[in-house]
């Protein structure tokens, strides 16, 4: 088990190193840099002025020096300085983190609470009208852009309930109820999509498990349907579901990017888009790297969970 974790971590670190190269190279490909964008509104900038700014931001150094410097920063957990705000990046990102984490956690919760029961119902009632209806509804979740769903939710609230959701962030200290509503709506918009995937996997995994011998034994023993499904079958059907939740984690971040924007929540994901549009390299580099690290850790955690949940899974070593 220990050697396995060490191996996985080693591969993970190599992957991250490769990612850092890709991210760094991609951002250097970009036509136009922060200096151009910062001064596109100011009109003409003399070449000497521009050079001074580039120097101040450390952008005049050769690429490999910039890259090495960035790697050193990552290793020492120094997130560098934002070009745009002229502030340490960490100072900007830290207050945004709780918003995104809360939204992500709520979305996963919504997705599981919606996805698992519908998947189970769909599997038990395979090929009935209910099964078809649930499958169409879940496929709808995969087809609707999360940001559009968010807009429609807001629109429905405004035009039917005559209630305008808070347009600025409400902290839980100020008004807990309003805060909960403010987060639940985007969590629904994002979670619906993820729930669709979870529902599909739950359904197919459960259908597979229900065909196994030990399930027939359970029925033969005269167990009630509820016990067979929820205690015997679902336990073994959960493994693929957990894998999907792990994979969904990466997709979720994509969903958050747009949803935070639509609901005007000051989160990391929305900030990432702004940083990309502003060519704020240090912020984009570090945020994308941070996302990559989170995704790799999430996958590792999922693999570890297998061993805990399913004693049949043993890691070599």
């Amino acid at each position: 088990m220990k050697t396995y974790i060490a191996q996985r971590l080693g591969v993970g670190i190599l992957t991250l190193l490769g990612m850092s190269l890709v991210i760094f190279a991609l951002l250097r490909l970009a036509p136009g840099d922060i200096v151009d964008i910062l001064f596109s509104t100011a009109g003409y900038v003399s070449p000497s002025e521009k050079e001074a700014i580039m120097k101040e931001l450390g952008m005049d150094r050769p690429y490999w020096v910039q890259y090495a410097d960035w790697l050193r920063q990552i290793v020492t957990f120094d997130l560098g300085k934002s070009y745009r705000y002229d502030l340490p990046a960490w100072q900007i990102i830290r207050p945004l983190l709780p918003v995104t984490i809360e939204l992500a956690a709520l979305s996963i919760l919504v997705a599981v609470l919606l996805g698992v029961p519908t998947g189970v119902i769909s599997a038990i009632r395979q090929d009935t009208a209910l099964d078809y209806a649930l499958r169409v509804v879940s496929l709808g979740g995969l087809s609707m852009p999360a940001f559009w769903l968010g807009m429609v939710i807001i629109l429905a609230l405004v035009s039917w309930l005559r209630w305008i959701p808070p347009l600025t962030y409400v902290s839980p200290m100020e008004d807990l109820k309003l805060h909960a509503v403010q987060f639940l709506l985007p969590a629904l918009a994002v979670g619906y999509r993820s729930s669709a995937l979870i529902m599909r996997i739950t359904r197919s995994a459960l259908l597979e498990v229900l065909r196994e011998d030990y399930i027939r034994t359970a029925w033969a023993k005269g167990q009630t349907g509820r016990v067979v499904i929820w205690r015997h079958a679902l336990k073994n059907a959960m493994l693929p579901v957990i894998t999907v939740i792990g994979i969904e984690f990466a997709f979720l971040i994509g969903g958050l990017v747009v949803t935070e924007r639509v609901f005007n929540l000051p989160g990391v994901a929305r900030f990432l888009v702004d940083a990309i549009l502003w060519r704020d390299y240090p912020i984009v580099q570090n945020l994308v790297m941070f996302i990559a690290i989170v995704v790799i850790l999430a996958n590792l955690a999922v693999d570890m969970l297998y061993g805990v949940l399913d004693p049949r899974v043993r890691y070599g070593g």
């Binding site: 190599l14 991210i23 995969l142 609707m144 807009m151 629109l155 197919s204 990466a250 990559a292």
Partner: protein, 298 residues
């Protein structure tokens, strides 16, 4: 003795080949949802092809006298904040969505397919290195990767296509590689090798055609997500630039601002995106059931 499904499948293949129309009819009966998806995709293709004929107005002509107009006989889906006809913009948006969706799906799938074919066929160290590089690409969320690539390349329709295709590459490579791994060990491949057929020819002429089933399934499945990513990128103004009408951009800043006064600004483009993606997802699901029995029900 009970008949196992595998034997049934073999029996099915022994049946004489039916004509294309009969096959299509059977598909409609067996997979009504998939057929519905096929019809949706077909409607989208036709809309894109004949956009110039079914438009009622010039999609980029503005009309200052009639901004944010509600749906009416003159403007079926109303007008936007610049007085442009939303129906005509959606019709033309189908063209942009389909071109970007198809082109990026094909580009990503073909590139990924070739990588998967070669790395699966060659095996060994090459395969291992290719897998690690693909891990790097796949480790990033699809949208984040597309966002960074699109921002890096700058706003242009061909750059959006490249940006969306990059995250598809590792997914395509995985699918093709796994089917190459099993096909590679088949006897007819061994026979070809014994006859002295060159490696490249074995890979492309003998193995590649047999990976077409999973490949088609992959493409239909990716088409929906490519359309979705295009809409999202355009929504974030990292996608298709003006003057092309794009569904995603129609939902962008202007729509969030005017949504309360003119809900049709939000509703119609979103419905168009959802239907297009829904159609290709339904079709993809059904095709997977038909063409790739190993994934059945997954």
């Amino acid at each position: 003795m009970a008949v196992r499904p595998a034997e049934l499948a073999v029996g099915a293949e022994l049946r004489p080949r039916a004509g294309a129309w009969t096959a299509l009819g059977r598909f409609f009966r067996k997979k009504p949802l998939g057929a519905a998806g096929g019809v949706l995709v077909l409607v989208m293709v036709l809309t894109a092809l004949f956009a110039d004929f079914i438009q009622t107005h010039d999609p980029i002509a503005t009309d200052a006298a009639y901004t944010l107009g509600p749906p009416s006989a003159e403007h079926l889906f109303g007008t936007d904040h610049l007085g442009r006809d939303i129906y005509s913009r959606i019709v033309h948006g189908a063209r942009v969505s389909l071109i970007v969706g198809l082109a990026s799906t094909l580009l990503g799938s073909v590139l990924g397919g070739i990588i998967g074919l070669l790395s699966g066929y060659v095996g060994g160290k090459t395969d291992l290195i290719a897998q690690r590089v693909l891990d790097i690409l796949q480790g990033l969320p699809l949208l984040v990767l597309a966002m960074v690539v699109s921002a890096a390349l700058g706003p242009a329709i061909q750059n959006v296509i490249i940006a969306i295709s990059v995250p598809i590459i590792p997914r395509a490579a995985r699918v093709i590689r796994s089917s190459v791994l099993s096909i590679r060990e088949m006897q007819y491949v061994e026979a070809a090798r014994a006859l002295g057929v060159r490696h490249l020819r074995i890979a492309f002429r003998h193995i590649l055609p047999n990976t077409m089933g999973p490949f088609i399934v992959l493409c239909t499945a990716q088409l929906g997500s490519a359309i979705l990513v295009e809409a999202t990128l355009s929504f974030l103004s990292l996608g298709v630039p003006e003057p092309y009408p794009s569904w995603g951009r129609m939902l962008s800043v202007s729509a969030t601002e005017y949504a309360q006064k003119a809900p049709h600004l939000v509703l119609f483009p979103g419905i168009a995106i959802s239907l297009a993606v829904f159609g290709s997802n339904l079709l993809g699901d059904a095709l997977r059931d038909v063409l790739d029995p190993r994934l059945r029900g997954a």
